[in-house]
Subunit: 449 residues, 2 copies
């Protein structure tokens, strides 16, 4: 493995500027596609294009898919569509090709498809593009080794030899019947341990785990994680094998899902990276800040009704941050536990009522402890019985409310098939802040007004 | 694939109560270990143990590792250590065996090791237990196919046939030199495409991607994700092949890391599941609530210094939630972007100054917009110029401070090799809330006091 040190990069830039093609090719041969993609960030567009045109098609295609979407588009813009078709799309695995095509507009898609020389590849891409992006069909590729259950092992090996040639890695061999229906999986070690079996079906693993082409990506990631698979066959409505999904794509999906949840919980409304420009970052962050601002103004209107009380008893104002903050903290905890439970399937549909009951007990303990501690503190330090009582009563009510609310909202969203993670973060904080103010003002103006 | 419907489970419970061993075995044969583990939750301990003793050793071992840690321990407690050794540990992959051993106390570990019949297996487990749990060595297993670079393909296939017998799945064959140093990887399709090559080293992939046994788990997950691998060889300090890490273990690590980050950001201080009991949940959630409570009391002390101002101008109190809430929202956004950037490596060490500058520009835009909107609103609606000016000035200052603070704290923690995710969630909200109150009180008491 080669480390991309500063010297290494300087050296490479030197070779590029000398246009020493032989040496550049030698260097590129040593590097993995993911490393070349990393290198790309250190090069200017001209240097990058120069490098690209020296790579063989398959490597160039791999590098292209390892780039950030933004960098990929910069590069593609500089290249004629015919070259994109012949150098990249023709050499890609079909699932990558489909991902790439989905990033382009329809005209470009069609032009590129018309330039693909391998008709089978073009046909597969067109077929795959018909699937919804968020389904197993939208994630799968068609590169796989398929054999018939009635073949003998030597015939299989012969056939595999033909099919395997333009394939990168093979983990499983899928076995189908005469109607193309998935019947089994052949582990590669059987090639060695049973080299002369008369029918594949005698050594294959029957009833393999598979997904439907219309299954959601969540079902795909769940299945592959649950059964510890590295690839998953995809079948159509009548059980015919139509493709396979590999674990690297599933891992990317899992990471994206996690990042999305994390960002939603942090009040960032669209996928954003540290490398994104100022405008993108602002656009991702301003919406929740504005909603928070509206919430804050709403709070000022609620509190405005009690201006007179503040004038008479200004101590009432001192505990506004405590009440609001505690409500927010409790609400976020509760909603995060639900969102995570739904995401990792530990929270099942039938468990809703027990979960709320358990949440109520946990909140009861937390609410009692916090209210009591604050009560003791205020009793000795504040010297105002009415406020002391109002603050602890309000805290108790706010913690109970915030936790039940924080549990119910994501559960309800999930039932309505809306992403429950939407209900975390600023939404919960802001809502609990407002309700908390109402509760506090009502109780304190009654007791201390 | 079989669905675990209610009827299916009722039916199975019936067979168990009838002790119809033949039928139970038949049923178990149809199910994958992950399904049997799921089934376990529907059975009582006696039923579960009954099932376990009917499974063959390898399946029983797989099922055991698919169970929750809590369920696993309940089951193990009921079984003699000798049986655990012979049925489970002897039949497990070494990495799973080590995971299991780490969950047990030292006496039990030793007793189990003494009962393992396969001395090589016991030796491997003892060796693996020496590695730190958070390193590649702690995650790896020793099951792999290893061949010598100077062997011919037929000799290789012969050797692989011997080694492959007790192996579940084979994805790569590792190639070493005479000193056991890792030299290459042999893709399984080469067995088919080059069946008679005279030396493996002519067809192997040279310079394979590997990790050191002392590398951190983060390095392992990064490497396996970057290069889209399904297994990763592990070498020692002089390059000898000592083990391999499979992608299913890496995926588990990635998920755990994400869940930890998400929980830290939500103010949950230890790994907690919806299924955990009330006490565990309270223990995980109370600490941050208490810290938030202390922050809230701190805020009441700050505001207490300005009691007189509230009495004179109660309007000052109305905007406390707006200032505190906005500071919290901004701070969480900023820290989340940094934590995520550090986690997915898009934020590199050298980028700290540019990142802070970019953050400052984004905040400048957000701060200006929010302050301006609130200014316009208050100008027309509030009828108090001093407060109107104070609120907008404070909002501006709070947004700027909160974003820079939210960026700097996780970056600093990362530099100090502390998990930056610790700085997200309640920590940022509470700190920004307090500083926000100070800024607001200082400005408003100066302008409106």
């Amino acid at each position: 493995m080669i480390e991309l040190t500063k010297e290494y990069i300087e050296n490479l830039k030197g070779i590029i500027s000398e246009k020493d093609d032989a040496k550049i090719k030698e260097t590129l041969d040593e590097l993995y596609p993911a490393d070349i993609a990393e290198l790309y960030q250190e090069l200017n567009l001209q240097e990058a294009i120069y490098l690209y045109l020296l790579m063989d098609g398959e490597k160039a295609a791999d590098v292209l898919m390892e780039l950030d979407e933004e960098d990929r588009h910069k590069l593609l813009k500089e290249l004629p569509n015919e070259l994109i078709a012949k150098r990249f799309v023709d050499n890609m695995e079909t699932d990558d090709a489909v991902d790439l095509m989905r990033e382009l507009d329809e005209d470009t898609q069609e032009e590129i498809l018309s330039h693909i020389e391998d008709v089978e590849q073009a046909g597969d891409i067109v077929d795959l593009l018909k699937y919804d992006e968020d389904t197993a069909g939208g994630l799968m590729g068609t590169e796989m080794i398929v054999v018939n259950e009635n073949w003998s092992m030597p015939k299989c090996i012969d056939e595999m030899r033909k099919q395997a040639e333009d394939m990168d890695e093979i983990y499983y061999v899928y076995v189908v019947d005469d109607d193309e229906r998935l019947r089994g999986v052949l582990q590669l070690q059987k090639l060695i341990t049973n080299p002369s079996v008369s029918k594949i079906k005698h050594v294959m693993k029957k009833d393999p785990i598979s997904v439907r082409d219309s299954d959601s990506i969540e079902e795909v990631t769940e299945t592959i994680e649950k059964y510890d698979l590295v690839a998953l066959p995809v079948v159509d409505s009548i059980g015919r094998l139509v493709g396979r999904i590999t674990i690297d794509d599933v891992m990317d999906e899992v990471r994206e899902q996690h990042e999305r949840d994390y960002q939603l919980a942090s009040g960032i409304s669209q996928d954003v990276e540290t490398s994104d420009n100022v405008f993108t970052q602002t656009a991702a962050r301003l919406p929740w800040l504005l909603i928070g601002m509206i919430g804050g103004i709403g709070n000022s209107l609620i509190l405005g009704n009690f201006e007179g009380n503040f004038a008479v008893n200004p101590k009432m104002a001192l505990f506004i941050p405590l009440i609001g903050g505690t409500g927010g903290n409790v609400g976020i905890q509760s909603s995060a536990i639900v969102v995570q439970g739904l995401a990792n399937n530990s929270l099942k549909e039938g468990n809703i009522v027990p979960q709320i009951l358990k949440e109520a007990v946990v909140s009861l303990i937390n609410a009692s402890i916090i209210s009591l501690v604050v009560f003791i503190y205020n009793f000795f330090m504040l010297g105002d019985r009415a406020i002391t009582a109002s603050v602890s009563l309000s805290l108790f009510a706010v913690v109970m409310f915030a936790s039940i609310f924080g549990t119910l909202v994501p559960m309800t969203l999930d039932k309505l098939k809306i992403d429950p993670a939407l209900a975390t973060g600023p939404f919960i904080t802001i809502t609990n802040d407002i309700i908390g103010m109402m509760i506090y003002m009502f109780i304190s103006s009654t007791l201390a007004g």
